[in-house]
């Protein structure tokens, strides 16, 4: 079936170090979304990428969508303790019946040591 693989599953960094999480889809996506979930919280939307090769930045966060629209990455520069949480990618699919759904990755849990 359709899957979105996300790596790594866990990452511990020292505050100030960079962090990257990667998503790979088994199928071409119509878009990809990134969410952040703080411990005990719910997924909060960060960004959506739609175009092939798209790159978007939000302060220290850089999001990329691959040329083939099958992979994506989230890079955080100079992590801070407020970056702690689980980062999920979710690939958007539109099926033959024009129904839309998101296929979620497993998430990458980020721990930041002060």
């Amino acid at each position: 079936g359709q899957q979105v693989m996300q790596i790594p599953q866990y990452q511990h960094v020292q505050e100030g170090e960079d962090f990257t999480t990667y998503c790979n889809s088994s199928t071409t996506l119509s878009n990809i979304q990134w969410y952040k979930q703080r411990p005990g919280g719910h997924p909060v939307f960060l960004i959506q990428l739609v175009k092939s090769g798209e790159v978007k930045k939000q302060k220290r966060l850089t999001f990329q969508f691959g040329e083939a629209k099958k992979n994506s990455s989230l890079h955080i520069t100079a992590t801070q303790t407020t970056d702690v949480g689980t980062y999920f990618c979710a690939g958007g699919l539109i099926n033959a019946g024009n129904n839309r759904k998101l296929i979620w990755g497993l998430g990458t849990s980020l721990a930041v040591n002060p």
Partner: protein, 112 residues
């Protein structure tokens, strides 16, 4: 800012009992979803709902599950006979027409 709300925040039930989880989507949204997240695991799609009917459902969404939009504001998920493995956070989400979904805060279901 409009938001999706869910009640209750935590539901404890005994195995075999029926539970109804409630969601109030954002008022002008047209598409509604239920997802679940078993503790420490990924978010899993359960079902999508549009125009008063299910538009898609996953393998998880078997005959024990049903959804309803009983009035113009509520969207409910019913689990008829809960099992231990139904223990999870259940998230409701809604969207207008694009692919951007807004999640509710979730209901933690604990089946004992």
């Amino acid at each position: 800012e409009p938001e999706v709300t869910q009640t209750p925040s935590h539901q404890v039930t005994q195995m075999g009992q029926e539970v109804i989880l409630r969601c109030v989507p954002i008022s002008n949204h047209l598409y509604f979803y239920w997802y679940r997240q078993i503790l420490g695991q990924k978010v899993e799609f359960l079902v999508s709902f549009y125009n008063n009917e299910i538009s898609e459902k996953s393998e998880i969404f078997d005959d024990q599950f049903s959804v309803e939009r009983p009035d113009g504001s509520n969207f409910t998920l019913k689990i008829r006979s809960t099992k231990l493995e139904d223990s999870a956070m259940y998230f409701c989400a809604s969207r207008e027409t694009g692919l951007l979904g807004y999640f509710g805060p979730g209901t933690r279901l604990t089946v004992t």
